[in-house]
């Protein structure tokens, strides 16, 4: 059964999305009080950590939203075509590695072309990394779920190799790269720590929406995702090629996220550059029902959840890692609601759609 086509967004979808968020927070609160924490104080601390001040909003939440939205857009691109890209984490690192290498070698370049080159390097890195599973699927029929997952581990090891080898800082003290040259850094938006990648991401969301709904390729993509068989028999859609293109595009976006993180936030490569963006972005895309416009909102929401989690740990002593439970509940509720809403009206025999 194809998932979450997002072709029609009824009132039921909105209720389900909001219900999913509330369910996630309610289960968190319930679990925390079971564990003996002050759940109310924890949730207040979470709110403060995410939205409590101008500083929290701009310096923590929005900065963190940028990679989540970017990767989330890529996930939507792949999932819309019915391709399961679980390897965004690896594509993110591939982009970050190539971007760092580029950013270290642009001494003396003017800012604009330097930044563009660094971001392009990320796009290329992520694209190459997703080219492998796309090719393995087309040529040998290897499930992309497995190959993209496997490549996450390879990318992690490669990052570790880079920051202890070719890209390690000149001092050689820590497993991290030197800072990329100042000219290759994304400028910040007036007085905040949010870089201009945020504007780029808004533009990309609009572009992707246009692509999905106003172009022939977008139609082919959605048709492929909705029913590969039906798309194939029209004779006008090359289902395999559309899926491969979606997967590669998805990897390019994840790679772009990696390069923006290097060029706009960390200015250097290190091993834990991503705190699991590639997996959180799946929740971001799903909660948005794969709609690029909504991904901007859900990306900020999940960033708030994670920065709020850090606030919760700071102020209420609750381990930040528990926000993953909230994310998991949100995904599951959205999936179940989606399956229920799209169930055929007529009564079906047991497991008829299985």
């Amino acid at each position: 059964m194809p998932i979450l086509l997002g072709t029609r967004r009824g009132i039921g979808d909105w209720i389900a999305s909001i219900g999913a968020i509330l369910a996630g927070l309610a289960i968190l609160g319930f679990g925390l009080s079971l564990a003996g924490y002050d759940a109310g104080a924890a949730l207040v601390a979470m709110w403060h950590g995410a939205f409590g001040s101008w500083y929290a909003l701009t310096s923590a939440t929005l900065v963190r939203a940028i990679p989540l939205i970017t990767i989330g857009l890529g996930i939507a691109l792949a999932f819309r075509a019915g391709v399961f890209n679980i390897g965004a984490e690896g594509q993110f690192y591939a982009g970050a590695i190539l971007a760092t290498w580029t950013g270290l070698h642009l001494q003396g370049w003017p800012r604009f072309p330097a930044v563009v080159l660094v971001l392009l390097a990320g796009v290329i890195g992520g694209g190459l990394w997703s080219l492998v599973p796309a090719w393995l699927k087309r040529r040998y029929g290897v499930l992309e779920v497995i190959s993209t997952l496997m490549l996450n581990f390879v990318a992690e090891a490669l990052t570790s190799l880079m920051v202890q080898g070719p890209l390690q800082e000149a001092r050689g003290a820590y497993p991290q790269s030197d800072l990329i040259v100042a000219g290759a850094r994304l400028p910040l938006i007036g007085g905040t720590r949010v870089h201009w990648g945020f504007v780029l991401v808004l533009f990309l969301a609009a572009l992707l929406w246009f692509l999905f709904h106003r172009t022939l390729w977008g139609f082919q993509l959605r048709a492929t995702g909705a029913s590969p068989r039906a798309a194939e028999v029209t004779g006008r859609i090359n289902v395999g090629a559309v899926g491969a293109a979606a997967l590669i595009g998805s990897g390019m976006l994840a790679g772009l996220a990696g390069s923006m993180e290097v060029s706009g936030v960390s200015y250097a490569l290190f091993q834990s550059l991503s705190p699991g963006y590639g997996f959180t972005a799946i929740a971001v895309a799903l909660l948005a029902r794969l709609d690029p416009r909504a991904i901007v909102v859900t990306g900020i929401l999940f960033a708030a959840l994670e920065t709020g989690g850090a606030g919760m740990q700071r102020d209420a002593g609750v381990p930040a890692v528990v926000v993953y439970v909230v994310e998991a509940v949100i995904i599951l509720v959205v999936l179940v609601a989606d399956a229920a809403l799209r169930r055929p009206a007529a009564p079906v025999p047991e497991g008829a759609a299985v």
Binding site: M1, L149, V154, L158, V322
Partner: protein, 307 residues
């Protein structure tokens, strides 16, 4: 450096022992997942089941010893996968994404519980572990000997291979289960409850996943750490595909993965300076290559992941 003959034998023996050690949690998890996939379900929550099993094993082990830990881990894996079965089989949510969510949730749940129980500092928790059990005669043999001085759960893993083979290919239950995975509509027409067979398969996979996590904690590491399974559950899924959904194939694939991973110890001992990260990548890269070769000859259960 020239090694004497006993030196080489000892090196090969410890290399083999390392290979068996690395492969045993993978084998246990993969045998469970084989049954799950034969029923037409792919369970990306396996990583989460292993993680839950690892924590439950640590808690149980510190309370009542390793056997109790093992028991608790089986319960934890099954409990988590009962939720997966409820959501995917009974509420018809997408398997792949629901499985990913289960793993995400397990990371949060185990991380939170661990800090709640053992404190935020993450002080090295030291657990009673399974001692290596020897097999008379065989364990004192050269080369093979060190491989056969393993803790009890490893032997349980070995034992599960023929048992699951018998279950799948020589029992009525197995015939029905495979029918469910190949042709759910046909199975349904024959009066087989597709939903219940898949539910049982998923619960079995959860039990094995939990046990695999406990093996890691109680037979190898002796402590728990957040995210300690480090993707082994996902590797186990690849091993199932590599082993062509057959218990003996899965056994061979798990051992192959263990051998490839253990290569780094051999190279460390030989003194050749190659960055260790290459050896971290090697098993994944070779698994991908092997998948490309193997996939052409044997097809997956026809209804796999088509919920």
């Amino acid at each position: 450096m020239i090694l004497s003959e006993p030196g080489i034998l000892a090196l090969v023996g410890s290399f083999g022992a390392a290979a068996v050690r690395i492969s045993s949690p993978l084998l246990i998890a993969a045998i469970g997942e084989t049954v799950v996939e034969r029923s037409g379900v792919i369970n990306l929550g396996l990583e989460g089941a292993m993680l839950a099993g690892a924590l439950a094993g640590a808690i149980g082990g510190s309370l009542e010893g390793p056997w109790f830990g093992l028991l608790l881990s089986i319960g934890a894996g099954m409990a988590l996968m009962a939720l997966f079965a409820a959501v995917t089989i009974w509420l018809r949510a997408d398997q792949i994404i629901a499985g990913t969510a289960m793993t995400l949730g397990a990371v949060g749940l185990t991380g939170g519980l661990y800090r709640l129980i053992y404190g935020a500092g993450g002080v090295g928790l030291s657990l009673p572990t399974f001692q290596a059990a020897t097999i008379p005669l065989l364990s004192s043999a050269p080369v093979l000997g060190p491989m056969l001085q393993q803790p009890a759960p490893v032997y349980l893993g070995f034992l599960s291979v023929p048992v699951v083979w018998f279950l799948l290919f020589r029992s009525r239950f197995g015939l029905a289960l495979r029918a469910v995975g190949e042709s759910p509509d046909g199975a349904r027409a024959a009066g087989i409850s597709v939903r219940w067979y898949r539910t049982w398969a998923i619960l079995f996979g959860g039990a094995m996943g939990g046990m695999a996590g406990a093996t890691l904690v109680l037979a190898q590491v002796g402590t728990f750490a957040e995210r300690m399974t480090a993707g082994r559950g996902f590797v186990a899924i690849a091993i199932v595909v590599l082993g062509r959904w057959h218990p003996f194939g899965v056994f061979a694939a798990a051992l192959l993965f263990g051998l490839l991973s253990a290569l780094q110890f051999l190279f460390q001992a030989s003194g050749i300076a190659i960055p260790y990260q290459w050896f971290l990548m090697l098993p994944y890269v070779l698994t991908l290559l092997a998948l490309a070769v193997v996939r052409r000859r044997v097809a997956a259960p026809a209804a796999l992941a088509k919920s």
